[in-house]
């Protein structure tokens, strides 16, 4: 366990050092969520007037939850790009040789993704409050939203890690990104679930991220709903992708 942790610590430190000393990695990580937040809140705030839209905290808070979860998911995927780059440059192979307990490699990447996302989350939260976001939740509700987003971040990095370890090339980027993009956008992004109609309503109903998103919005509104289902869905995804990542690690080991 101790050796796993020391490997994880080394991998996490290196990943974070690489990210935070490279402006081309830091700036998009902060700018893209902010950009989506601006575009959605600024451009679509009139949606608040659509009949049937009853979210008391307003459209800024409504979209904040989505953008926070999106930043968590994409924070994980972007870390996956780094893993693929490590394989392409040969660093990951040296890491596999040097690490006494290789599970620590996966844990290290996941810890790095989480720390990376926390910086984005703080930045986004400060901006949201600065532009007047209203929060109805108590001292427990808001942290519950961040914990939920952190689990989503872990699930996303484990998914991306599994792909990176199987394909071991930067060209795997779209394979990591596209499913996450689809799962995110097939949830009720712009309006609540009850206002979705047609095929997208059916897809959103079975999309596990819908529960997470609706629960996240309920936390901000101060009236928690679907909490167990949301945490269950997020944990379920994290456990599933942990298994996926570990299988990927074994495949990378077998590939030599």
């Amino acid at each position: 366990m101790k050796r796993n942790l020391s490997v994880a610590q080394g991998v996490a430190w290196r990943t974070l050092h690489n990210v935070f000393t490279n402006p081309s990695l830091v700036i998009p990580q902060l700018a893209f969520p902010l950009f989506f937040f601006t575009a959605f809140v600024g451009g679509l705030s009139r949606i608040h007037n659509v009949p049937g839209f009853h979210y008391a905290q307003g459209y800024t808070a409504f979209q904040f939850v989505f953008v926070l979860l999106q930043s968590a998911a994409f924070g994980g995927v972007f870390t996956g790009f780094g893993i693929a780059r490590d394989f392409e440059t040969g660093f990951a192979r040296r890491l596999l040789l040097a690490a006494p307990h290789r599970t620590g490699i996966v844990i290290g990447y996941a810890v790095a993704a989480l720390c990376r996302w926390l910086v984005t989350a703080i930045f986004l939260t400060v901006i949201a409050f600065a532009v007047g976001m209203k929060v109805g939740g108590s001292g427990i509700d808001l942290p519950a939203l961040y914990v939920l987003a952190a689990i989503v971040n872990s699930a996303a990095v484990l998914w991306a890690c599994g792909v990176a370890m199987r394909l071991r090339t930067m060209q795997a980027g779209p394979v990591m990104q596209m499913p996450v993009f689809l799962v995110l956008f097939f949830a009720p992004v712009y309006v609540p679930l009850n206002l979705l109609t047609g095929w997208i309503h059916g897809v959103a109903l079975v999309n596990p991220l819908t529960r997470v998103l609706e629960a996240g919005r309920s936390f901000v509104a101060g009236s928690p709903a679907q909490v167990a289902a949301a945490y269950g869905a997020a944990f379920g995804l994290a456990v599933l992708f942990a298994w996926w990542a570990m299988r990927g690690l074994r495949k990378a080991e077998a590939a030599g």
Partner: protein
């Protein structure tokens, strides 16, 4: 004259074949805008209940977006290809031949325009299949295809200029987020008069991409709207002239003989 035309044709053919050999360069510009159309038209359908929304079909409203988005993808691909030609030395080898600079640009952009028109036909076909009927009729569809070709030419020339200026595919790719910002801070998802956030409405009004979208949208939703057409064609012509001038100015430095 005939020699120049032959050179243009050869280079356009090379550009098209080069693109055709990279499935990702074709599939992604076709698929991704359609995916976003599906997502947005499903998620934002409730917007049609807003008073003053110009149509009851959000797909018809949103169908303008793929035209611009597809052109951006094509532009990035074309710019990246040209930058790769600079990086690999292909352009330097061309400079040893009697090839005219204008033919190089025309050939490269010819390929981009061809791809742009193919994409536009695909988007229109998808629109027709899901029940969108362009209000401007068959003539409107023809104008739409001409406009799509002009958008591809205009953005393609900007991509070509960036490629010639930097000679780096990565630098050309880094333009993509900039274009994307222009697309999102526009009337992409809602008509400008329905944007309630004042600064966003001003930004969308100042953003030329809004007028390109509204030109396409007018042909699909309202029919023949002289103002929207004039603004759309005027802006795309201006962008094309600027892009072509910048590319033509930069080209001799890359084709130093």
């Amino acid at each position: 004259m005939r020699t120049t035309a032959d050179q243009v044709l050869l280079l356009a053919r090379r550009s098209i074949v080069h693109t055709a050999r990279q499935p990702a360069a074709i599939v992604f510009p076709l698929l991704f805008p359609m995916l976003l159309l599906a997502v947005n038209s499903g998620g934002l359908r409730a917007e049609t209940h807003l008073p003053g929304f110009p149509t009851k079909s959000f797909v018809a409203f949103a169908l303008a977006v793929p035209f611009i988005q597809g052109a951006l993808f094509a532009t990035m691909n074309a710019g990246t290809d040209l930058a790769r030609d600079v990086e690999t030395g292909f352009l330097s080898r061309l400079s040893l031949t009697p090839l005219r600079g204008a033919a190089l640009l025309a050939g490269q952009l010819g390929g981009v325009v061809a791809l742009g028109v193919i994409q536009a036909c695909f988007y229109l076909l998808v629109g027709l299949v899901v029940g969108v009927r362009p209000a401007a009729g068959v003539g409107g569809v023809a104008v739409l295809l001409v406009f799509a070709a002009m958008i591809a030419l205009a953005f393609g020339s900007i991509g070509a200029w960036a490629a010639l200026r930097t000679g780096s595919p990565e630098a050309v790719q880094s333009l993509f987020p900039v274009f994307f910002v222009f697309l999102f801070i526009s009337s992409m998802n809602i008509p400008r008069n329905l944007i309630s956030t004042t600064w966003f409405r001003y930004a969308a009004t100042a953003n030329p991409v809004s007028y390109l979208l509204e030109c396409v949208r007018s042909l699909i939703i309202t029919g023949w709207n002289g103002e929207a057409l004039l603004l759309g064609f005027g802006i795309v012509t201006l962008v094309a002239i600027t892009g072509l001038s910048l590319a033509a100015y930069t080209l001799p430095r890359r084709l130093a003989r």
